[in-house]
Subunit: 304 residues, 4 copies
Amino acid sequence: MNYKKLISAISDELKVLEDKGKVASYIPELKKIDPGKFGLHIATVDNKSYGLGDYNEKFSIQSISKVLALTLAFKIDDNKLWDRVDVEPSGTPFNSMIQLEYEKGIPRNPLINAGALVLCDVLVSHLKNPREEFIEFLRNISGDPNIDYCYKIFESEKQTGFRNAALINLMKSFGNIKNKIETVLDFYYHLCSIEMSCKELSQVFLYLAAKGVHPATKIEVVSPSKSKRINAIMQLCGFYDEAGEFAFTVGLPGKSGVGGGIVAIHPGEFSIAVWSPRLNKKGNSYKGMRILEFLTSKTESSIF
Amino acid sequence: MNYKKLISAISDELKVLEDKGKVASYIPELKKIDPGKFGLHIATVDNKSYGLGDYNEKFSIQSISKVLALTLAFKIDDNKLWDRVDVEPSGTPFNSMIQLEYEKGIPRNPLINAGALVLCDVLVSHLKNPREEFIEFLRNISGDPNIDYCYKIFESEKQTGFRNAALINLMKSFGNIKNKIETVLDFYYHLCSIEMSCKELSQVFLYLAAKGVHPATKIEVVSPSKSKRINAIMQLCGFYDEAGEFAFTVGLPGKSGVGGGIVAIHPGEFSIAVWSPRLNKKGNSYKGMRILEFLTSKTESSIF
Amino acid sequence: MNYKKLISAISDELKVLEDKGKVASYIPELKKIDPGKFGLHIATVDNKSYGLGDYNEKFSIQSISKVLALTLAFKIDDNKLWDRVDVEPSGTPFNSMIQLEYEKGIPRNPLINAGALVLCDVLVSHLKNPREEFIEFLRNISGDPNIDYCYKIFESEKQTGFRNAALINLMKSFGNIKNKIETVLDFYYHLCSIEMSCKELSQVFLYLAAKGVHPATKIEVVSPSKSKRINAIMQLCGFYDEAGEFAFTVGLPGKSGVGGGIVAIHPGEFSIAVWSPRLNKKGNSYKGMRILEFLTSKTESSIF
Amino acid sequence: MNYKKLISAISDELKVLEDKGKVASYIPELKKIDPGKFGLHIATVDNKSYGLGDYNEKFSIQSISKVLALTLAFKIDDNKLWDRVDVEPSGTPFNSMIQLEYEKGIPRNPLINAGALVLCDVLVSHLKNPREEFIEFLRNISGDPNIDYCYKIFESEKQTGFRNAALINLMKSFGNIKNKIETVLDFYYHLCSIEMSCKELSQVFLYLAAKGVHPATKIEVVSPSKSKRINAIMQLCGFYDEAGEFAFTVGLPGKSGVGGGIVAIHPGEFSIAVWSPRLNKKGNSYKGMRILEFLTSKTESSIF
């Protein structure tokens, strides 16, 4: 693939692409962001790197970090993990509490909030200093020592997280949370507060395009089989209520965050990160979705 | 890929693989089947063909035909189709009626019963003789004039289809069914009653492994973009409540039927059909799932 | 109680009471009604009779007839009935399909549509000519030979009843409908089409104010124990999603219909029927509710 | 009514009545109770008093105290209360979280846990020392200075209350809780921990049989209109998922608690408290329900 030509075509497309939607406003810190920001970065399995726009600017990756928590929890806890969280799509957003209640505290998948809370519980059980060890894990994968939490975001999340508190208490009532609720929630809000640039993000995720081994650092982050499975989970569960839409129009496994970031993987080829803060009605970056659709149409790079 | 060695490895695996589950019993005709039957057939994009076991024996493909109805409806009705049916996974089976009610008569996707009823409504609106034209469409794709309905199955389905009648009436109450209920249901039960062998099935589906153009007949069944999208829908919605499990363990787009058949697609490579009548608790062929998992582990042929 | 003074006070109240809401429009026949109509009639256990406004004009009693179907089915089928239908309030209207699915085809109570369909199934099983015998039953109770079905309403209901068809098919799929769907639905739509005036309505229902024995005809319609139980069911389930509101503000067992009629019972004292076609958002007569609230506040005649 | 003869008949009935069900076990303190305990006490509006069995022994009244919290909150906050909590029955127990989510944090009624948490929030907003003032309120009504909290029960509830924490957090996320979650929960668990004997319980509740004025102390606890409305709410919502069953078989407004207590009101006549620790599947006292059914059949004292 001629990535340079691709970046140039995307740049042209951006000039005509309207931008719609609203910046996430449920926490004050996210509301402050300039809605006109746009970044895109591609990292290839042969260690090439292509950026566009604000690709070096850090933003709040929010739920995208769930995939990284899944990677570490899956690595540590192996298949026992799947007794406590399923791998199925979650259906309508309306259903979050309903399904958790109907399915007796077992979240549908690890990429919805309830599922990520279980991941956090697993990590809290296995790690001595979850907060430090987790961020160290990300720095090691990527070889990038600058990745870090943002404490303003962390505080903001913590003060408004009543729905997450509801979810974790409901799961605890079913026996699916082992540690103290406060400890798990504290770690969870740390997860939500990680900041990266598009460049960092695409580089951290590159192991999922390379059967689990990071092409730059040569670290085996996870086994090939687990790498494949994490991609499968992203494909089916990475976009809340819009997983089907993303598979349908983009056709790559990926994960979005309410900070406006999206990461997507073409196994064997590249990982890509885009960032544009305005969100569509389903909570995914409006422009990010559209640009990824443009990219895969242009390059016919869907996995399907 | 060395398909002959693969078939031989599968043959060995079958000797040690236990068989569990129950043959579908909701209609008498399906109950009569010998549960020990097993067939498998691979058709490749370069027109090679590899079979194992009862791969030439016809069986009831049941819901697998929904993908074929989707193909024809998508071809005819293009994007207007997606105003009447969504492309999202359906969540729990318990939800079928609930989601249809909550989402005002719009089915979650075209591969659940409610969605396929909408496809039938579309086809009844556009075709003069839906029953004849649809089977002719399948015969043309595959170049196989023997594909046909089974009238015993048709009658059996019709007499026990109260839940389908409930679904279509609910959708009609929301205005999402345009034709007479009896006409649409009649066509729907025809769809459910199609019989094919594993060989026929893998050959009919080969266009989805080849960007929409059937490698044998050279017919462009659908455009490359639509072919990709149909695969994406299969990946996310092809296995009822077990779509995630199938993506997780097998990693290919596919579709199952309660007759014990499964078809799966490796884009650019092959289509495969397996048949084994015993079903797991989610209604998918127990042995079929296990053999496809074995195959993709063996060949690392997942799309992820 | 001085009923004459009461009627006069209501007459005064009506002059200042605004009228809100909309006439039912889901079938054309109901839409034609003059929204300004108002009738009220009280029949006492000592055979006194007090009317106001259009109390002699016939209107479509709609769902109010469900209580009469319950009376006859309960009389005939006794306690076996309660294996097929529960006696609990139904919760939100959104839940109709959900609860039926969750509770495996057993309706929450006999006064919602699903429950009344089960009553119809029971009556179809036990009566030779359900249509004739049912209307005869009403004529006998009240001593009024003029009570009858309205065939225009019947036809109208039948042509738009897709949701009822969905409910009955769903119940049939669970085995909770014994007769042919068409037969039961036909009888159900007859039930919906009965016409009475406020005077007739309050007289027919008088047995529920008198422990099951009709004060005028001396017929024991049901036993005292069953009469008490029918009143209890009306109290908890007679106003769809507004049963609590009616108990809270009026405090009498009663039943409403989308034709704008409401009947209410003060055990040991009287039965009352009001009619005013404009409905509030929950589908109950706006003015009817307000006038009954006025009446029970005025007379302190609540059962609580 | 000859209460002495009635008590004697109940005494005979108890000899032949089997006892079924299980003592509540979700908190250790409740599990310790002797399942063979039985108490019954009737307090009449003319200040007569009739007891049977262990009617002077204190037990944990649990949810019965919700009616007392409702009384005080309704008295203080008047009709504004009903913007934050509805007066409708709750439907299936499965629905608790679902309805709260569907109805955007507004509980169906004040007698389910979510509703009582709103009552507690109201009381915390209006009272200086909610804990002291509430117990004082009960002592004043009844003229009984011995009514108190049980701190073992309180601690036990607090440590296992994850589901209540889930409910209150969900409501807080919708803005329907004004105070700090910890403060409201602390008061709520106090409510759950009140202990009374059958004698005390029937005496405290006597104002609801006497239009709001307590016959012994002559205190106007609430207005006649509010007393009537509290009875209506008890009738429709006092027995969780078995409100209809209780209305159907007993026919009096009442409230149960998982400690095995039930209180019921015959307006204008008496209040009655029964206590028997074994619970039926719906969480209501098995023997308590049966004895109240016997009593109202015997005396024909239903309100219907």
